[in-house]
């Protein structure tokens, strides 16, 4: 085939045969994608309302009046979610880093730390989040602590911090392991101590490498803040439940879902973008 290709044509001679062919393939692919999307959307729009319970579902989940009445209250309740997220996220990052470093210690004197790191990540990655929230959120205030130390905010958030820092620690550790041995060798050959090597050479690179993975964890955390509703704090999920009972209608849940999505979809997209960018840089 290649022998038939035009001999190096001058750039002014218009598109090459390959460019013409590829443009044709692209147009065809776009037409097919458009047609199949229209077909699927039409089928959904026509078929779903034909279901026998559609009118009831519409009234119970997509009630415009209830939506308008409850949406502002839901947004207000969501501020609590954001607040819980905002002060647990840095704690998780720090605890996760601490645990990751514990697991990476080599000195025999620090073996207990290492053991602790292993046990910690095993235990908290092995438990359902909601179970940890129950045990800590109900258990610790049960000690009869004075106000404000019996608040479910504090202990529920602590439960989130404990669980998520186990995951963050594992992600960080994989980042630390991903730094090539030659970087440590270069640092050692300059006479840097192990501590300085970790702090100035390994960690900065490791943390940068795992930013996308950690972003995904923090997006999951934003959603799991809703689990705290089980032990008391009136965040958006619980507020939606209150409205549901008040209006005898499920629309507030749909409203809450929309509010979550407004935050998580952009965040997920951004994490994907970072991940892709990193993959491109590596290849």
């Amino acid at each position: 085939m290649s022998t038939q290709d035009r001999p190096a044509a001058s750039p002014a001679a218009g598109p090459t045969r390959r460019e013409v062919y590829e443009a044709g393939v692209r147009r065809r692919a776009n037409r097919i994608a458009l047609a199949s999307t229209i077909a699927v959307v039409l089928a959904l729009v026509i078929l779903i309302p034909l279901a026998p319970g559609w009118e009831d579902v519409k009234r119970a989940f997509f009630n415009g009046r209830v939506f308008a009445a409850t949406f502002p209250g839901l947004v207000e309740a969501f501020v609590l979610n954001v607040m819980i997220f905002a002060w647990s996220a840095p704690l998780i990052a720090l605890t996760g880093l601490g645990i990751a470093l514990c697991r990476d210690t080599r000195s025999p004197a620090l073996f207990p730390l290492r053991l602790f790191g292993v046990a910690y990540t095993d235990i908290f990655r092995g438990l359902p989040v909601v179970l940890v929230i129950y045990i800590i959120g109900f258990g610790v205030p049960g000690l009869g602590l004075p106000r404000p130390w019996n608040s479910p905010y504090i202990w529920g958030t602590l439960a989130l911090v404990l669980v998520y820092s186990a995951y963050v620690a594992e992600v960080l550790r994989s980042g630390i392991d991903s730094i090539h041995q030659s970087q440590r060798a270069a640092a050692a050959s300059l006479g840097l101590s192990e501590r300085d090597t970790m702090r100035y050479v390994v960690l900065p690179q490791a943390i940068r490498n795992v930013v996308p993975a950690n972003m995904n964890l923090f997006i999951a955390l934003q959603k799991d803040v809703a689990l705290l509703s089980f032990i008391g704090p009136v965040e958006i999920f619980r507020q939606a439940g209150v409205y549901k009972s008040l209006y005898a209608n499920f629309t507030p849940y749909v409203g809450a879902a929309l509010i979550f999505l407004a935050l998580t979809i952009p965040a997920t997209r951004y994490a994907d973008y970072l991940m892709n960018k990193q993959n491109r840089e590596r290849s």
């Binding site: 030659s182 970087q183 060798a185 270069a186 640092a187 050692a188 050959s189 300059l190 006479g191 840097l192 101590s193 300085d196 100035y200 050479v201 900065p204 690179q205 940068r208």
Partner: protein, 243 residues
């Protein structure tokens, strides 16, 4: 006169494979020693043993007559005296060239950036990198990165410099600029040990050339003798292949 660096019966094995099978070598002050030999003959491992990146299994390494290969000895002070430059540069990718160079003097010698900067500017300038100090490694060519790596090792003011095939990963047209740096160091009387495939360079500048074969120094001597009148058949065969 005692040698600056002496190796006596140095052995190193990785699992089943013995990479160094009893190496004896003397490097005198101000001398430039070139290690030549096929890939896998043990050149790199020998260099890594010299600055204790790899602990030796048996034998002795003496620096100024002092045994530095003793198990349990703190390797840090030794590494400050013996710098090494690697084939793959191994710059820290998240730091600028200048930060790469300053990290170890700052942390180990406690020198400040302000104090280091003039000396650095002088070194970067001398090696043709005057306008590259604040570039990151991925903004530099291979030859520039390797020169930064050399400056980084020199900034610790080592008494001996080890070079592990530092031009092997470079495009041919960049090899010259790195060899020029070595020439410059040679002129200043730096004690150097090079593992190299640049036979022309070894012939031009080395005081002593050692031919390594399967973990042993098979033959050593001044470059003229070794290149022009090798005694061993394996040396002849190797030189016939590379020259």
């Amino acid at each position: 006169m005692t040698a600056k660096l002496s190796l006596r019966g140095v052995r190193k094995r990785f699992g089943e494979v013995e990479v160094c099978k009893g190496i004896d070598l003397d490097v005198d002050e101000g001398e430039m020693v070139c290690l030549i030999g096929a890939s896998g003959s043990g050149k790199s491992t020998l260099l890594r043993c010299m600055n204790l990146l790899e602990p030796v299994d048996d034998g002795v390494i003496l620096l100024d007559g002092q045994d530095i290969s003793e198990p349990g000895l703190d390797p840090q002070p030794v590494r400050q005296k013996i710098g090494i430059v690697f084939q793959s540069y191994n710059l820290f990718p998240h730091m600028s060239a200048a930060e790469n160079v300053m990290l170890a003097p700052r942390r180990v010698y406690g020198q400040s950036r302000e104090e280091l900067r003039p000396k650095l500017a002088e070194m970067f300038g001398r090696f043709g990198l005057g306008d590259r100090m604040d570039h990151y490694p991925d903004q530099l060519s291979g030859g520039q990165q390797q020169r930064v790596a050399i400056i980084r090792a020199l900034a610790m003011a080592p008494q001996i410099m080890l070079f592990d095939e530092i031009t092997s990963a470079l495009d041919p047209e960049l090899v010259g600029e790195v060899l020029d740096v070595l020439r410059d160091l040679r002129g200043q009387g730096m004690t150097m040990v090079l593992a190299t495939h640049e036979m022309g360079f070894a012939r031009e500048l080395a005081d002593k050339v050692c031919f390594l074969d399967a973990g042993r120094i098979l033959e050593q001597g001044p470059p003229d003798a070794l290149f022009n009148a090798p005694r061993e058949d394996r040396t002849k065969a190797f030189l016939a292949r590379v020259l």
